[in-house]
């Protein structure tokens, strides 16, 4: 993935120089082939016999080789010239977007992030002015994203075309000091990061291209590389699954409707029907993820979406970030709960976008990346599924690895990392934090059905963070309150010992409604502005809670 800065500094002139060079070489080699052919003809008229035949055959081979290499250089010329043109186009678009920033009013940061200059709107800007500024910022960010995507697409296209010129098997991968053997699943993310860093850029790129699923799913590999690998993997998988689906449909058609007493045919028919259904599920999951990656309406956020992990099988799994957590100052991982699945991931991404925008508004000077972590099989329904613990128990190791991976790949000073969960997701984050050191700064439980860590669990029992950074909220009309201890202690309880912040009524799913005050409080927590978070009402509190 080409970055904002890399595109700004890109030099199409040097590429055009290379294109000119290979064009001249192509012409000369073609000429050498023609000249060789002239001498072959000359020899044929002045020499006969076995030696002459052998020489003629050898020279024919040389002529073909000269022509082939000339053609190869010619292809390189076309590829590189096209890439240079695309870079120029993308840079033009980028510079045009940057020049629009003052009219937001705002500016474009070194990393391409767009910042609204809120102070330019006056001391008390109207909601309309704020909205207009956000829309302007989104438009500029959109242009920047388009420019970077155009350059990246051209770059990737050129790369694959260049590999095809000599054949992928002929392009050597060397110069890195590391081994290209991919670490085993479950390897410590910090160890994975060291392995990745030891590879040359060429080795990394080749692994992304040849093993997109392994690289895309590996905690400890930087997010931009995982995103690139997963996008490649998703496209490849879609092609493959569609082919399988067409074959399964054909098989079903060939078997035909089974007659009443043909057991064998009935069984074959049922198997084929199951295959079609399973593949339909995968196609739906893949399309749903792709739809998110393709979306242009980012609800006011100016950040790019990254596909950090996914699995298309069954209910599907997906981990999608708004912005790049590796470079963000604040990172929020949100774990959704009961009913969350990949076909409905759009609603979860909307929440991530909302939280990212809220955090940017709360602290415009620092970047926030928000992540939807649906890397587990969430319960399908409240009853009977959500009363069982195995969903969050099964999720814990993966969620812990993911959190450790975020620390391993983060660049620059440590970010403020927040892990939050909603509903069953709250039990999931609580259970995981009680059993693994997640190196998180904040834990937020929204509408929890219990801490998922036993009846004696308190806010002091997490491996991280400390009780001062264990947060919870629940709306007064949220029906989860009737089952708030189904998975252990209720984090809203005074006895639990955490911090509670208020939320407006809106039922079980209203916490991200546009005017719900909970959004602002979450934004202040994730940006580390703890003193701005008001105290909410705790169940069983003997008196007003204060710190």
């Amino acid at each position: 993935m080409v970055s904002f800065q890399q595109l700004r500094q890109a030099d199409s002139g040097s590429l055009r120089g290379a294109a000119d060079g290979v064009r001249k070489l192509a012409r000369e080699l073609d000429q050498f082939g023609t000249e060789t052919d002239r001498h072959r003809v000359g020899l044929a008229s002045s020499w006969t016999g076995m030696d002459a035949d052998a020489a003629g055959q050898k020279l024919t081979t040389h002529i073909q080789d000269f022509q082939n290499t000339a053609q190869s250089y010619g292809k390189v010329d076309n590829i590189v010239s096209t890439l240079a043109g695309e870079i120029d186009g993308a840079k033009q678009l980028l510079e045009s977007a940057i020049s629009m920033a003052p009219s937001i009013p705002g500016s474009v940061g070194q990393d391409g992030s767009v910042h609204v200059n809120w102070s330019a709107l006056g001391p008390n800007p109207s909601p309309a002015a704020i909205s207009r500024a956000q829309q302007n910022a989104q438009q500029v960010a959109g242009y920047i994203r388009d420019a970077v995507m155009r350059a990246t697409a051209a770059d990737q296209r050129a790369q694959s075309e260049l590999v095809a010129v000599t054949g992928s098997a002929n392009v050597r991968v060397s110069s890195g000091s590391g081994s290209t053997t991919i670490p085993a699943e479950g390897t410590d993310p910090h160890q994975v990061k060291r392995w990745w860093d030891d590879l040359s850029l060429e080795q990394q790129q080749q692994l992304i291209n040849t093993n997109p699923h392994e690289i895309g799913g590996m905690d400890g590999v930087p997010v931009t590389a995982r995103d690139e690998a997963n996008r490649i993997g998703l496209a490849q998988e879609r092609t493959s699954v569609l082919e399988q689906h067409a074959a399964a449909e054909q098989r079903l058609k060939n078997i035909g409707m089974p007659s009443g007493d043909d057991y064998h045919q009935r069984r074959e028919y049922d198997d084929a029907r199951r295959d079609v259904s399973r593949l339909n599920e995968r196609i739906e999951n893949i399309n749903s993820i792709q739809e998110q990656l393709d979306r242009t309406d980012l609800n006011g956020s100016t950040e790019r979406l990254h596909l950090i992990d996914y699995d298309s099988a069954h209910d599907g799994q997906a981990v999608i970030s708004v912005g790049n957590p590796d470079t963000a100052n604040n990172v929020v991982t949100h774990v959704p709960g009961t009913g969350a699945d990949v076909p409905g991931i759009g609603g979860q991404v909307d929440r991530a976008l909302a939280m990212q925008t809220d955090a940017t508004t709360a602290d415009p000077n620092r970047n926030t990346s928000t992540i939807i972590w649906l890397g587990y099989d969430a319960p399908d329904r409240v009853v009977p599924n959500a009363i069982f613990a195995h969903y969050y128990e099964d999720a814990a190791a993966d969620l812990a690895s993911f959190q450790q991976g975020l620390r391993a790949t983060h660049e620059g000073p440590p970010s403020i990392n927040t892990l939050m969960g909603h509903s069953y997701g709250a039990s999931t984050v609580s259970h995981t934090a009680a059993n693994h050191d997640l190196a998180i700064d904040n834990l937020i439980q929204v509408a929890s059905p219990g801490g998922g860590a036993g009846g004696s669990m308190t806010a002091n029992d997490y491996l991280a963070p400390g009780a001062d950074n264990v947060w919870a909220t629940r709306a007064g009309d949220d029906s989860i309150r009737w089952v708030s201890q189904i998975h252990g202690n209720d984090p809203i309880d005074f006895d639990f010992g955490g911090r509670v912040f208020p939320a407006d009524d809106g039922g079980h799913g209203g916490y991200w409604d546009p005017n719900n005050q909970a959004r602002g409080h979450i934004a202040n927590i994730v940006t580390g502005q703890y003193n701005l978070v008001p105290e909410g009402r705790q169940d069983g509190a003997p008196r007003a809670f204060s710190r």
């Binding site: 040097s14 294109a19 070489l25 000249e35 060789t36 020489a55 080789d65 390189v76 890439l83 002929n170």
Partner: protein, 103 residues
């Protein structure tokens, strides 16, 4: 077998020159091509371009050397033929003399 020794020798020498010219031209282009692969950090195509050009350069250089070798062999064939022809001539001459002496 028929051969025009002078013409074959001449074509062989020119084929060798084609190979030498190709090798020389390739060498002269190495600098500019290498320069074109510098910079543009973050563009994966640039590192692939470097690898592709290295690979093509290797193939082209081998072809240029092979072309020189083929030219050499053609010249050698012509020279060998001339040498054999002279030896055969000398052999025939000697045989003629011996036969004449017996007569």
């Amino acid at each position: 077998m028929q051969i025009s020794e002078q013409r074959v020798r001449s074509h062989g020498a020119r084929l060798r020159t084609v190979g030498e010219d190709a090798e020389s031209y390739l060498r002269s282009m190495a600098g500019p091509l290498n320069q074109g692969c510098q910079g543009n950090d973050g563009f994966v195509a640039v590192s692939t371009l470097r690898q592709t050009l290295e690979r093509l350069s290797h193939l082209t250089n081998n072809l240029a050397l092979e072309s020189q070798r083929t030219g050499d062999r053609v010249v050698k064939c012509a020279v060998n033929h001339a040498t054999n022809d002279a030896q055969h001539s000398r052999g025939f001459g000697s045989l003629n003399q011996q036969l004449s002496g017996r007569g």
